[in-house]
Subunit: 328 residues, 2 copies
């Protein structure tokens, strides 16, 4: 990947964000320490960066969208803290999750207060924009909860269709990216049409990002992805690949898959290898690549129909590609 | 208790509230069914009623504060659903709690979406008021989380002082009542001074209400309270009474109390009787009554320094007394 063309935005955002977090109260310690801990774990802060990028598309003043961008990042972390409890995840960014390091009650309550903090930060935006921003923020927040519920429902649901899966990741992941871009456009006084186009751009891009995650877990290069691969296969996670393979597999392949999915005890490397071979024999790697390209391209087409300059769109398109490839 | 003078307000609120809840989406079922279940458990809906009463103090249009009142009731239920998980409570209003009937993940996520719904409802208020209402709502929401954390911290903390306890119940319980009244005043275009006085009225009243709960659990009439008494004693809950008794008890009494608190197995009725006798020998019943009266009276004094009419204040003062006595 080439150098990050938005480094200056990230620097500006980080300074504002860290200051905002520093102003959180210090007590009760069991409420605020977990937040400081979790927010310090890092993460790429891509979502608030999208807000700044969107504002820049329409020549907006970046500083005016910092509160909205901050609310996005706080919301994202709220949802991670609560999702980690629900998913019983021991680690996040290679560190203990909040419910592991403290307990579930602390994680529930710290998450709750973080969601409220996100609203408080959003209220710092231009008074004229505050209601509009809050409206789309709340709509997004409801949808993210719906997406998380669908994701949990799918664990025990048979015959999840691909379009149901796409809708789930749209809600759970993509609407937040849509909201991030839309908020930047709103803060930059873009036209309503441009604001909507930016939302749709983010939504399609979010689907492409999530499908890329599905892809990389099976077909990624372990050295570049930077984490153990095959986790989705080991846990029978209903990703795009596992849903698609049942659409395309013949009776014999289905049987073999079912047997592997049903095993309680197995050699992880062997299971990954067998399942991956079936994926490969059905050319799922190519199908999924095409699917990712489809959503990525749609995203850029939507962006190009906005009034943002072709030069800026070009820089962004490469940056977005890079985000996907960096982890390939 | 005499007839509820605010019955017409309750009828109007219930109609609006039930309609708002009816408009919640139906799917994902595991997200929205628990909310419909929990919101249908009833409850007195005192808090939103306070919002309508406050609007009426200043001759406001009741219908204009229905969204704010609804947001208060939704927030209250959000906090109950999450508190029940943290407190590991099997029952609420004699029915299964959400995490018992479904599971913790469902309860976390349903609570989350309910908090967002509270903000969405609040956004339906007058556009001019929306930012102000949201600001005080968020401040209250943060404080309620802080209060719940302190309450949990106190379970394992030694030497909790009475003023720390009062501050905890102020945050956990009373600020919500303050916010309920203040929002009604804001929606009725009351002066800033009146809005602040109404907040303080609610805060003091909330402390009086919570101390009344502490009182009734030990000294209430079981037939009238309508639930098993002595629960706080059985669970060693650090109520006002248990904190005060250690301030006033002599060495011998302290010893007996410590022994009973340390017992893992005991006859519940016997423990209640012994602890209650020590409370009574130290006249704690009278002290606590005086403390309740102090906060109640302060609350009414604050209300009287607002520009609300003496007649309306009088009706309210009796109603508030009744709320406390009804459960005595």
């Amino acid at each position: 990947m080439t150098e990050n063309p938005y480094k200056h935005f990230s620097v500006e955002f980080d300074a504002y964000f860290d200051k905002a977090v520093n102003q959180f109260p210090k007590t009760p310690e069991n409420l605020y320490e977990p937040l400081n801990y979790f927010l310090a774990l890092g993460g790429k802060r891509v979502r608030p960066l999208l807000t700044l990028i969107a504002a820049d598309f329409f020549e907006g003043d970046i500083t005016k969208c910092l509160p909205a961008a901050t609310s996005i990042e706080l919301f994202h972390n709220f949802s991670l803290i609560h999702d980690d409890i629900m998913d019983n995840a021991p680690l996040r960014r290679n560190k203990q999750t909040v419910h592991e390091k403290w307990n579930s009650s602390v994680a529930i309550l710290s998450g709750d207060v973080l969601l409220v903090k996100a609203y408080q930060e959003l209220a710092k935006a231009d008074k004229e924009k505050a209601v509009e921003l809050q409206t789309i923020f709340s709509k997004m927040a409801v949808e993210v909860c719906e997406g998380q519920q669908l994701d949990m429902d799918f664990e025990t649901k048979n015959n999840v269709a691909i379009n149901e899966y796409i809708n789930m990741i749209r809600l759970k992941t993509a609407v937040l990216l849509g909201c991030s871009l839309q908020m930047g456009a709103i803060c930059a006084n873009a036209s309503q049409k441009d604001c909507e186009l930016l939302y749709q751009t983010g939504e399609k891009l979010g689907i492409a990002f999530q499908l890329t995650d599905d892809y990389l877990d099976v077909f990624g290069n372990p050295d570049q992805v930077g984490k153990q691969l095959g986790g989705d296969i080991i846990s029978n996670k209903k990703t795009w690949l596992l849903l698609k393979v049942f659409e395309l597999a013949d009776a014999n392949q289905k049987n073999r898959l079912q047997n592997w999915l049903a095993k309680k005890e197995f050699n992880a490397a062997e299971k990954i290898q067998v399942v991956k071979e079936i994926f490969t024999s059905l050319k799922l790697e190519n199908y999924l690549k095409a699917e990712i390209d489809f959503y990525y391209n749609e995203s850029i087409v939507l962006l190009k129909s906005s009034s943002a300059s072709p030069e800026k769109i070009n820089v962004f398109a490469q940056f977005a590609q890079g985000l996907m490839q960096r982890t390939k």
